[in-house]
Amino acid sequence: MSKPVNVGDACTGCGVCVSACPFGAITIVGDKAQIGDACRVCGACEPVCPVKAITMKKVEGPQSFSDWRGVLVYAEQREGKVHPVAYELLGRGRELAETLGEPVYAIVIGSGLAKAAEELVKRGADKVLTYDHSSLATYRDDPYSQILTEAVKELKPSIFLIGATSIGRALGPRVAAKLRTGLTADCTSLDIDPEIKVLLQTRPAYGGNIMATIYTQNSRPQMATVRYKVMTEAKIDPAHKGEIVKKSVDPSKLQDRVKILAFEAAKEQVSIVDADIVVSGGKGLGEPKGFDLIQRLATALGGAVGASRPTVDEGWIEYRHQVGLSGRTVRPKLYLACGISGAVQHQAGMKTSDVIIAINKDREAPICRISTLAAVGDLYEVVPRLIEKIKEQKGSGVP
C-alpha cells in the first residue's frame, strides 16, 4: 500500500511544508521532502506546497487484509513469570484461531525468558517470540511499546490480544497508536463473525450498564485488551509443539525517556483485581476500625479487602481498595459485601462476580436484590461467627 501522502518529482526541497506540518513529520532529505511515520494525513502540507508536489491519496473502499494472519497474545511477565491472563488469552486465542484456520503466536519481553517461552508453547502457542535483554527486566513504557510495535509489523497477526492489567492498559494504547489501528479496551468476550470473519470485541461501558460489541475496520491488527479472569485458561499440554524464536533486541529500541528512580512493592499479597475472593466493607461498618474485622474475614478466606466509595472518601481506607465506578472493577469468584447498600456506582464494579453474598441490616438495600445470598443482620454479630466456622473447618483438617 502506498503512502497516503505522496511527494512528487516537482518538489524543490524548499521546506515550506516542514514548518506547515503540525506533527513534525516532514524532513528534507537530499533536496526532497520526506514524509515520516509521524504523519497523520491531516493534509496541512498539501495546500502550502508552492509547486503542488504534495498529493493526498484517498484511502477508500474495502481493503484486503489477507496478508495479516494469526492470533498474537502479549504475554506480560514479572521476574520471568508469565501473568496468568496471558494463559487465558491463549485459551480463547486458540479457539478463535481454529475458527479461522490460523496459527497462535505469543510474544514475551523481559529478561531470562527461557522458561516462560517453554510454558507458552505448552499452553498452546505455535510460535513464541522472545525479546530477552537485561535492561528489559521490568516493564518500561517506551522500550516495550517500541519493541512490540516492530514485532507486530513484522509478524502481521490478524488479531492481537493484551491482558487488561494496569500495564496492559498503559501499553496497549501506545502500541495501537504507533500501529495506527483500533483498540478496544477491557473486553469481556471475543468472537469471530461467522460471515465476514472479523473479531467481535464485546466490552462493558457505562459502568457495566450496557455492553457494546465493537469491530476493527480498515486497519489491522484487530487489537483488544481483555479483562483478567473472564476467559478460560489454556491447559498445559506437554506434547504441544511450538517454535521458540529468540529475537535480537535493537539497541535503539531500548531508549527510555522516563527514568525509574525507585520501586516499592505493594504490601498486600494480592490486589483486589487479582483476588478470587473479595471481602468488602461499607458505611455500615460505622467506623474505620471496622475494616479490622473485614481484614480478619478476608484473611480467613484467603481473599483481599475491598471498600465502598464513602469509606474511601471518609479516609477509613486507601483508594486502591475502592470497588466501583470510580474505583476498580473486580470479578472474583466470591464478593462478600458487608454493610454496603450497593448503589448503582458500587454495583458497576462488582456485579459480574460469580457469587455475591451480602450482610446488611436493611433487607431493602439494593445489594440484596443482586446477591446470590443476602443475610439480613448485624455484620458485627454475623462476621465473627462466620470467621469462627471457617477457622474450625481449617483446624479440623477436613478438606
Partner: protein, 265 residues
C-alpha cells in the same frame, strides 16, 4: 523557570448517571435529558494542575472535546480555578473512537499554544477505556505516564512523580513536555469558589472547529475511527437469590453453607 508551567488539562463531560439509554436505530447514546457533569476522574486531573500552578506558577488551560453543551464543563473547571477553557467542537468530530479523539485533541492542543504538561483523568466513567491519554502521547511524540498517584517535584524541565501499578509503586523521572494520567490518590479535588464562579460566568470560551484545524474530515469523528460499534445491548442482571433472616448463628450457618455449596471453601 520563572515563567511557570503551561499546564493543559483534558476533560470530558459525561452523563451524571451511568443508567443511560440507547437509540436502537443509530446505536448511539441518547444524551439528551441526562444531567452532564465533569467526568469525576478528570476532577483529580484539574486538582493536580491547580496544585502544580500553586507551587510552580504558570497557567492552567482546560480543554474539552464534545458537543457545544460541553462548554458548561469548561466553566465548571474555571470555577474550580482553571485560567482558561477551550472547547473542541465540530460536527465532523462526532462519533470518534479513542484514536480519532486523541488525534483531534492532540491537534487542538498544538494549535492552542505551547505546553509543558498535559494532565488527563485515569479514564472516563462512560467509555471507561483510559486510552485517550496514552494515544495522544503517541500523536504528540511525548512520553506518557499513566496511573500517577503523586507529583513530587518539577525542576530543570524534569518532573519526578510516583505511579501506582498492580504490584507496587514506581518513582519516576521524565522530561517535559509530557502527558500524565492521574488516579484519585493525587488528592481530593477542591470545590468551586465564589470568586471562581464569577470568573467562570465571565470567561470567554474559545472554540476550535475543524476550520481552525484544517484536517481532512475523513480522518475525524466516526469516519476517522478504526473501531465501529456494531451492537449495543443490556447485560443480564446478576441473578438475585435468597434474602434470609434469622439469628446471627443461623445467618453465619447459611453463609457458610453457601460457601461450601459453591465450592469457595
Amino acid at each position: 523557570m520563572s515563567v511557570g508551567l503551561n499546564i493543559v488539562i483534558c476533560i470530558k463531560q459525561v452523563p451524571e448517571t451511568t443508567e443511560v439509554e440507547f437509540d436502537k436505530e443509530t446505536g448511539r447514546l441518547k444524551r439528551e435529558g441526562v444531567a452532564a457533569v465533569i467526568n469525576p476522574f478528570d476532577e483529580y486531573a484539574i486538582e493536580t494542575g491547580l496544585r502544580l500552578r500553586e507551587k510552580h506558577g504558570g497557567r492552567v488551560k482546560v480543554i474539552s472535546m464534545g458537543p457545544p453543551a460541553a462548554e458548561q464543563a469548561l466553566r465548571d473547571a474555571i470555577a474550580m480555578g482553571c485560567d482558561e477553557g477551550i472547547l473542541v467542537s465540530d460536527r465532523v468530530f462526532g462519533g470518534a473512537d479513542t484514536w480519532a479523539t486523541s488525534l483531534t485533541l492532540a491537534k487542538s492542543i498544538q494549535l492552542s499554544g505551547a505546553h509543558d504538561i498535559i494532565i488527563c483523568g485515569l479514564k472516563t466513567t462512560d467509555g471507561d477505556t483510559g486510552q485517550t491519554g496514552p494515544e495522544m502521547a503517541e500523536h504528540l511524540g511525548e512520553p506518557c505516564i499513566s496511573y500517577v498517584s503523586q507529583i513530587i517535584d518539577v525542576k530543570d524541565r524534569k518532573i519526578t512523580l510516583k505511579r501506582s501499578l498492580d504490584d507496587g509503586v514506581e518513582t519516576l523521572e521524565a522530561p517535559l513536555p509530557l502527558i500524565i494520567t492521574v488516579s484519585k490518590d493525587v488528592g481530593q479535588p477542591r470545590l468551586a469558589t465564589l470568586r471562581g464562579r464569577l470568573a467562570a460566568k465571565k470567561a470567554v470560551i474559545n472554540t476550535i472547529t475543524n476550520k481552525e484545524m484544517g484536517m481532512n474530515p475523513k480522518e475525524l469523528g466516526l469516519d476517522g475511527s478504526y473501531t465501529r460499534v456494531t451492537k449495543i445491548f443490556t447485560p443480564e442482571p446478576h441473578a438475585g437469590g435468597e434474602v434470609i433472616e434469622g439469628t446471627p448463628d443461623q445467618l453465619a450457618d447459611a453463609i457458610y453453607a453457601k460457601l461450601k455449596e459453591t465450592k469457595i471453601i
